[in-house]
């Protein structure tokens, strides 16, 4: 069966520090991968998605970047965090023969920027 893991679960970082959140998927190949963010009390905002190694699409211009160095690995990064980067970050994958768009989510990473 397929599983998705992301870490760290919780992160407290000072303004201006770097960020790296990692996500890996197991049990499937060539998944579509996504990073979402939830600000407090808000809905889901799609940040990046990837359909293959090295292929990244950005939905919202911002202080963050994403990379996909391996087929089942997706990394969210920042060189210098802003207060507005605080939020709950979710990694997700989709795929399969039907390609319905159904997403499978990781456990989430809570980022607090102070």
């Amino acid at each position: 069966s397929q599983t998705i893991h992301q870490w760290p679960a919780t992160l407290v970082q000072p303004v201006g520090s770097p960020l790296s959140l990692e996500c890996t998927v197991e049990g499937t190949s060539n998944p579509n991968l996504y990073w979402y963010r939830q600000a407090a009390g808000r809905g889901l905002q799609l940040l990046f998605y990837s359909v293959g190694i090295g292929q990244i699409s950005s939905e919202v211009p911002q202080n963050l970047s994403a990379s996909r160095p391996q087929d089942r690995q997706f990394i969210l990064s920042s060189k210098k965090l802003l207060l507005s980067d605080s939020g709950f970050y979710l990694c997700a994958w989709s795929g399969g023969t039907l390609n319905t768009g159904e997403l499978f989510f990781g456990e989430g990473s809570r980022l607090t920027v102070l």
Binding site: L44, N99, T100, G101
Partner: protein, 114 residues
């Protein structure tokens, strides 16, 4: 492009009462429809989905939803809620026949009290 509207941002309900969470979508082509649940500080979990066939879809935890094409709706229902159903619920839509991304509604907070 598709869109999703969840008209109710919050729905308070007493335990053992029935509940309906409303979802309307907009799309010019055939769609797939999903309901996800998010418990505090967790990722999203699929409750149920409509891909094709019977318009009444049953999901986990006693929830069900009915696809109504003429009203472009996919309302979520449960005949008797429990305290443990307190969570955020997201409706989502994707477009059939393409390598599609899910479009999410803004979410409905279901608050169950004694």
């Amino acid at each position: 492009a598709q869109s999703v509207t969840q008209l109710d941002s919050q729905v308070p309900v007493f335990e053992e009462a029935p509940v309906e969470l409303r979802c309307n979508y907009s799309s010019s082509v055939s769609v797939y429809l999903f309901w996800y649940v998010q418990y505090p500080n967790q990722g999203l979990q699929l409750l149920l989905k409509y891909l094709s066939g019977s318009t009444l879809v049953k999901g986990i935890n006693g929830f069900e939803a009915e696809f109504n094409k003429s009203q472009t709706s996919f309302h979520l229902r449960k005949p008797s809620v429990h305290i443990s159903d307190t969570a955020e619920y997201f409706c989502a839509v994707s477009t059939a026949g393409t390598a599609s991304k899910l479009t999410f509604g803004t979410g409905t907070r279901l608050q169950v009290t004694l």
